[in-house]
């Protein structure tokens, strides 16, 4: 609109972002920052020719980040004749990298399933990301089947460390946090590069490369007791296959972790423990359980009070007994 002289603050954010995407998609050779700020809707209204545009430049920097977060491939092209000059950098969005490839198509059944997959996330950034992914899926115009009724699946993301770790993982940043290992009296600082975030047995785990040793270790998010801070350093360790490897690693630990317990027949413990994944009733009437983390299994078994007794391993039996005694002590003057 040539005649649009609305003050800049009257141009809504989405209009400015939309205009920026359109302008950068339409250009083959790219636009310089100064061309963008002086001509694109939402910037041009506050552009001062020959004046100080520092605020506007900062706004453009933020917009660039926001657009990239949405999966729009905003590219920077250096001027071949003047490669070191930032003012000569050109910005563009290559159409081929922006558009969904033609061979990526979805059937109505697949869209229905993806709707359900998106609804698994109901909190935090994963919920926003799923919502946006669904909008993009809808753009394809596939007539969807009616949604699956009778299902409300949900995966929780309640650990405070999840969001900062997920952002660091996306940006490939090294992080620091304090980690409290069971059996240790004080938390110790860890310095790691996140490789994957996986939920196993309902708990979120971080798989990460440890600074110094280069070893890949698994951390339970629940035991991160400090804020997660980034160090400014980034990593290039390849990510492909890391989440599968992390889940497979936990599965192996789970398979090798075996406990034998005796449950009182007819109790809540008898019903629920027998229904755990991998639980196996033994000929002598005992029950074999698998676990990843003895401290967590001990908490869980302590909750069943007298309905279950741990037979093996003895460390687990001791851990459960100590937990129950702690609870008695905490409620002693009753």
């Amino acid at each position: 609109m040539a005649s649009d002289d609305r003050p800049a603050q009257r141009v809504p954010v989405e209009e400015r972002l939309f205009s920026l995407v359109l302008a950068l998609l339409a250009t083959e050779t790219g636009l310089t920052k100064s061309e963008i700020l002086s001509t694109v809707q939402g910037y041009r209204q506050s552009f001062r020719a020959g004046g100080d545009n520092a605020n506007l430049e900062r706004k453009f920097e933020r917009d660039k980040d926001d657009i990239r977060e949405l999966g729009v491939p905003l590219e920077t092209v250096a001027d071949p004749g003047d490669p070191g000059n930032n003012q000569a950098l050109r910005y563009r969005i290559p159409r081929g990298a922006y558009e969904l490839p033609d061979d990526v198509t979805f059937t109505p059944e697949e869209i229905t399933l993806l709707d359900l997959a998106a609804r698994v996330w109901r909190e935090g950034s994963l919920s926003s990301e799923s919502r946006r992914a669904l909008l993009k899926l809808r753009a394809l115009g596939v007539a969807t089947d009616e949604p699956v009724i009778g299902y409300a699946p949900r995966v929780r993301v309640r650990d405070a460390a999840f969001e900062p770790l997920s952002t660091a993982l996306e940006r490939r940043q090294w992080v620091r946090f304090d980690y409290l290992k069971p059996g240790e009296s004080a938390a110790r600082e860890r310095h790691v590069a996140p490789l994957a975030l996986v939920q196993f047995e309902g708990r979120w785990h971080l798989s990460a490369e440890e600074a110094g040793t280069g070893a890949i270790k698994t951390y339970l998010l629940r035991r991160i007791v400090s804020r997660v801070t980034t160090t400014g350093k980034t990593t290039t360790t390849p990510l492909t296959g890391q989440q599968e490897a992390a889940l497979a690693g936990l599965e192996e630990i789970w398979r090798n972790g075996v406990a034998r317990v005796r449950v009182e027949p007819g109790t809540d413990a008898a019903t629920r423990l027998a229904r755990r994944r991998g639980a196996a009733a033994q000929p002598d009437g005992t029950l074999e359980l698998h676990f990843v983390d003895a401290a967590i299994l001990a908490d869980e078994l302590a909750g069943f009070g007298p309905e279950v007794v741990v037979l093996e391993p003895s460390e687990l039996a001791t851990a459960v007994r100590e937990r129950l005694e702690r609870t008695v002590a905490d409620h002693a003057d009753a």
Partner: protein, 334 residues
């Protein structure tokens, strides 16, 4: 097995307001959808995208005045989108008559693709998703349709369970279930239930249904059920006439209100039980708050499973119930 389908439960799932990032995504998705359809009503778009009609009209008005700076850098008429204003204003129909810069759907961001992929991974064990190859192909398509490599986010596949398949069959056929259910008090009862919805939270699965014994909606844990039988008796209540709130456990006037001290770091673990509007006073890393429980059987199990992190303050009966439960458990190790 056919999947039961029905209208989207709009009254239950309230649409969240769109953020600027969502609005931009919606604009980028709406254009190719409308172009593809040629002519489409606002109501159809609202239905397809699950977005309020008013937001669609706002978006169309914004698109209609948007464009690219063009050769003159002044947003001349031919550089702008245009719509059939008569159709829009008189018939609530959208027709784009001049198209600028975009005509295809945008790619997913790496994180958007990752959220859907992890959601699919979690749902892989649903009785409907027996075709593992189809899920692999869908995952590949999402990755191919993303602007970057999907982040390493994984969720363990929920345990496939024979009970789940039986319940789904009953939901699909609209018939009652009969099952043995062990309450947290340890009592087992034969129940007749109109199954309404299967819900999950992480690795735990629940059935929401109308309980003929209690004559009310109840939440049943799948791992507390046994001897589940699909009857031929049609259900007396269906999801349309029994409102199912989003929270799994509803407060009732008969609930016991218990004051507890919780380690601040453990608060997310008991969030479901905290009474609505309860005070959350924190002192030295300990939060004093109140939880609602239908009886002490649930309370003693919960508190004993979080030794050192949760302690009952009042009433005295509740403290004693927890202490006795833990003491009985500890006694089994002597």
């Amino acid at each position: 097995m056919p999947t039961p389908r029905g209208p989207r439960p709009r009254s239950v799932q309230k649409r969240a307001p769109l953020l600027a990032a969502d609005k931009l995504t919606f604009l980028l998705a709406l254009v190719p959808f409308v172009v593809d359809r040629g002519r489409v009503t606002v109501a159809e778009v609202a239905e397809h995208f699950d977005v309020e009609p008013a937001q669609i009209r706002d978006a169309v008005e914004l698109i209609a005045v948007s464009g690219v700076p063009g050769e003159t850098s002044t947003y001349q008429y031919e550089d702008l989108f245009d719509i059939d204003w008569d159709a829009f204003e008189n018939d609530d129909e959208i027709v784009i008559t001049n198209l600028v810069a975009i005509d295809d759907s945008p790619r997913f961001s790496a994180r958007e693709a990752a959220a859907l992929i992890a959601g699919l991974q979690y749902l892989a064990a649903l009785p409907e998703n027996t075709d593992a190859a189809a899920l692999v192909s869908l995952t590949r398509k999402l990755a191919a349709g993303a602007s970057g490599e999907p982040s390493q986010l994984g969720v363990e596949t929920a345990a496939g369970d024979a009970t789940l398949a039986l319940i789904r069959r009953a939901v699909a056929r609209g018939v009652q279930l009969e099952l043995d259910y062990v309450t947290s008090a340890g009592a087992s009862e034969r129940r007749r239930v109109d199954p309404l919805r299967v819900e999950s939270v992480d690795e735990s699965w629940y059935l929401r249904g109308w309980c003929h014994l209690r004559e009310a909606v109840r939440t049943f844990r799948l791992d507390r059920m046994s001897d589940v039988v699909v009857t031929d008796e049609p259900i007396g209540h269906d999801a349309a006439d029994v409102p199912l709130p989003d929270v799994l456990f509803e407060a009732s006037d008969d609930d016991l209100v218990v004051t507890i001290d919780v380690a601040a770091s453990a608060m997310p673990l008991i969030a479901d039980y905290v009474a609505a509007g309860a005070s959350l006073e924190e002192r030295d890393g300990v939060v004093r708050t109140t939880v609602r429980m239908s009886h002490y059987h649930g309370l003693k199990r919960l508190v004993a499973s979080m030794p050192g992190a949760v302690a009952v303050v009042a009433p005295e009966d509740a403290r004693r119930a927890v202490a006795e439960w833990a003491a009985a458990g500890a006694a089994r190790y002597r």
